[in-house]
Symmetry: C2
Subunit: 162 residues, 2 copies
DNA sequence: CCGAATCTATACTCTTAAGTCAAGATTGAT
DNA sequence: ATCAATCTTGACTTAAGAGTATAGATTCGG
């Protein structure tokens, strides 16, 4: 259970584009240089984001990438799901049934519900964070201390076992 | 960002052992059979858990695995960290610095703090859940519907990407 | 002592994710 | 029309995680 490279780098690329004003195209070589990634890899990541509808691209001499929507409409949770998948995916049970026909529920339904609980905790953060929030966090004060992305207060997150 | 196979299977094995009373040894072939895993893989997972101090083992004809501590002292977060690493590890920045000397903070400190926020949300759940909790959840009512580990209201599930 | 049942350890293979390569297609400027 | 800058695509290579194989060491019962 780790953040993947695609999530890290893909999100960085998205930020590079969001940082420029709306309508300003950014090219693959520019992003590649800014982030220290190969152009080929940058292109691959941008393609993923474009196919998922977060970016749009223009070809040709004055081409480049721009956001497909305003940053406040780009949910980071959706971006990360595209780049690195969901924590607990639909086919998880089938894929982890061992040699048995199906995951033996008597032995691990408590695990299933633990996974859901974690998933929910993560979603609570990521579904409420937009690209706008990340950009705003940078504007404020980057170097200093303290968490820059603050989660709006909500019901206390407590896993409660019946 | 996904749960790993080691986390899933390793935790299942740990549950198998915790389910038996204290002091009752469980053998690799038994667990292997119960979970539908190969004995070799089961052995590998159990070894990881043993080396991390969650289990102890006895060799020989009447050998097997038992918990090294009472289940209420086994924090699931620690177990998962051992089986699948932490979401956001210490060396993450160095490992993802691209070609650059270090991760350029001006471009991604907002990402760093996002990662921390997610990590905290996950830890909040996992550091408070013990093996005892999972075992208790099973005792109650497993087959029926509904999540056994329940989160207090106000957890809107994330919307799918179109 | 001997053998069966058990755990132990390391090295190996297989699969998937990460990252690269190379050929192609579009656009705008001259 | 040509050229250079750009994105596009699919196949390829490499690295890492998942799972296997095999040989070895410990314990206990006879």
């Amino acid at each position: 259970m780790k953040f993947t490279s695609h999530e890290e780098y893909g999100l960085r690329c998205l930020l590079q584009i969001g940082r420029r004003g709306p309508g300003v195209g950014v090219t693959i070589p520019e992003i590649s240089r800014a982030e220290g990634l190969s152009t080929a890899y940058t292109a691959k990541l941008l393609r993923m984001l474009r196919n998922a509808g977060f970016l749009k691209s223009a070809r040709g001499q004055a081409g480049g990438y721009t956001l497909a929507r305003p940053p406040e409409e780009i949910i980071i949770g959706d971006v990360l799901a595209e780049l690195g998948g969901r924590l607990f995916e639909g086919d998880f049970c089938e894929r982890h049934a061992g040699q048995e026909a199906s995951c033996t529920h008597s032995s691990d339904c408590s695990i299933r519900s633990l996974w859901s609980t974690v998933q929910t905790a993560v979603d609570r953060v990521l579904s409420r964070t937009t690209l706008r929030d990340l950009l705003r966090a940078e504007e404020s004060a980057c170097p200093p201390e303290a968490s820059l992305v603050r989660i709006r207060p909500s019901a206390p997150e407590r896993a409660e076992v019946l």
